[in-house]
């Protein structure tokens, strides 16, 4: 099973643990410090326990690293904040790993259930639920339109390319609105009040 042993933990507990760990990491002193070994060890242990595949971890970390390095470089520029650089780098990577563990072990609908129990407003909940449900649908629709466009259009003229990409997004919005209308009718047909 994808989630390994952690499937037995309740999603609330996992969310709370990750939040606590992130808070702990953020509040650590802002210089390389032996204390950083503690969250690192916890994360390594948890990753092994949840059977987090290293490939997945590295791939996602690499994506995040662009942002992290991009901002962290700013603290290298001035001598006043140079000591912060390493600490910030460590902190962000540890936090991203903690979040990766959460997303790996907890499907979004379970997080949604926790948010419902936390009394998140109903508008937010329904928006989040519908969004997570229809995101793959709309992403696939966008991919399909993009594939159709690239098979019909040749060359790389910036102006035409931007215009046709914008048209795809515009079409995607129109389709989303129409789909929302159909969903509403379907909801009513099923007794939604």
């Amino acid at each position: 099973m994808r989630r390994g042993a952690s499937g037995r933990l309740s999603p609330q507990l996992k969310l709370a643990l990750v939040l606590a760990l992130t808070l702990f990491i953020v509040l650590l002193p802002r210089r390389p410090d032996p204390l950083y070994a503690l969250p690192a060890a916890i994360l390594a242990g948890a990753a092994a326990w949840c059977r987090l595949p290293p490939g997945f971890l590295l791939r996602r970390l690499l994506v995040a690293e662009f942002f992290i390095l991009g901002i962290a470089v700013l603290s290298l520029v001035s001598p006043a904040t140079r000591p912060v650089f390493l600490a910030v780098l460590l902190k962000s990577n540890l936090c991203v790993t903690a979040m990766l563990l959460l997303t790996w072990t907890t499907p979004f609908h379970e997080i949604l259930r926790v948010l419902r129990r936390l009394r998140l407003p109903a508008v937010m909940l329904s928006t989040l639920a519908l969004m997570s449900r229809y995101l793959p649908v709309l992403a696939e629709e966008a991919r399909r339109m993009e594939r159709a466009r690239s098979s019909r259009a040749f060359g790389r003229k910036y102006r035409a390319l931007w215009q046709s990409l914008a048209t795809i997004i515009g079409q995607l919005f129109i389709r989303s609105v129409d789909r929302a209308e159909r969903i509403y009718l379907a909801m009513c047909a099923r007794g939604w009040k």
Partner: protein, 322 residues
């Protein structure tokens, strides 16, 4: 612009989270009051739409590409309150499902991209649309395109302020770096937003103009979001941008952080520090900002002028057609 965790200290994370909470709370109140039941699924689908639109890459010079953020686009299409809710959901899903942006930095990301970018952009859109002396569709494209640039830049400035307030990097570094990059990115965002609106206007003009009274458009909405954004600017940006140090001290005092700021006050260790090449960075950024706004303005104008005529015949034909 998605801030990962680790760059903001606890205090800044708390401040941004409360600013974001106030904005989202206000938006939820307005949306709940104004949204018709049949529009309930629209918000979820709009959030999925914004996320899917962010996945489409626009080619930029030299083989690089960028994507839309969509705050201003959402605000123009759905109204400011719904846009705040939609952007908040997008950012939450990006954080919890795709690890894009940190968990404790979520408040900062919602504030920068959901509130400052979307609402800040939206009220510029409203103002420009009223001032622009053009045919309404053209005015919409022009105003939205420029507003998207403005929102992007404003959001990056608050982001720079938050990083500086956390003492991760001095303001004299974060401000020029963030602002200059986003002055460029914003031009792309503006062009893309204008082109997308044009596409929607061509196919289904009623979706842009005719959504009726959208939540948050009233004077109260303007007042509320305006207040939240200005407080955010006052807390995150003003302490660095203006020479008086008392602004932050006063805030720190009222919020009870006095003891923490007794340790070197954030601006002071590097405030007077000057590196040779960033000594005049703020001035250079101001010039870049003025230049960027001119370019964005001209691009928005050109976009509306050159491409919008395609709309006019359709509008004239409509009454006489059939």
């Amino acid at each position: 612009m998605h801030l990962p965790d680790g760059f903001l200290d606890g205090r800044t994370a708390l401040l941004t989270a409360s600013a974001a909470g106030a904005g989202v709370g206000l938006a939820l109140r307005q949306v709940k009051r104004a949204l018709a039941p049949r529009q309930t699924p629209l918000l979820g689908l709009a959030a999925a739409f914004i996320f899917a639109a962010q996945m489409i890459n626009f080619p930029v010079l030299g083989g690089t590409s960028g994507h839309l953020v969509g705050g201003a686009l959402a605000a123009v299409l759905l109204g400011p309150a719904a846009a705040v809710v939609v952007m908040t959901c997008v950012l939450m899903v990006q954080c919890l499902m795709f690890n894009d942006g940190g968990l404790l930095a979520l408040g900062a990301n919602i504030f920068n991209m959901g509130i400052v970018n979307a609402c800040g952009g939206y009220y510029v859109f409203r103002l420009l649309k009223r001032l622009a002396w053009m045919e309404p569709n053209r005015a919409t494209v022009f105003a939205a395109s420029f507003a998207a640039w403005f929102g992007t830049v404003l959001g990056s400035v608050t982001c720079a302020g938050e990083i500086a307030l956390s003492r991760t990097a001095p303001w004299m570094v974060t401000f020029p770096a963030m602002a200059n990059i986003h002055i460029l990115i914003g031009i792309g965002e503006g062009l893309a937003t204008g082109l997308i609106l044009l596409a929607v206007l061509r196919a289904r003009p009623e979706l842009v103009a005719g959504l009726g009274d959208r939540p948050g458009e009233s004077g109260f909405g303007f007042l509320g979001y305006g207040l939240i954004i200005s407080i955010g600017l006052a807390v995150f940006v003003a302490p660095f941008a203006c020479p008086w140090p008392d602004g932050l001290e006063a805030v720190a005092k009222t919020l009870g952080f006095e003891s923490r700021t007794a340790a070197p006050l954030l601006a002071s260790p590097m405030g007077n520090y000057r590196l040779p090449f960033i000594g005049s960075a703020a001035a250079a950024t101001a010039v870049a900002g003025a230049l960027g706004s001119l370019v964005a303005f001209a691009a928005a104008w050109l976009l509306a002028w050159r491409l919008a005529p395609a709309l006019a015949p359709r509008k004239e034909n409509a009454p006489s057609g059939n």
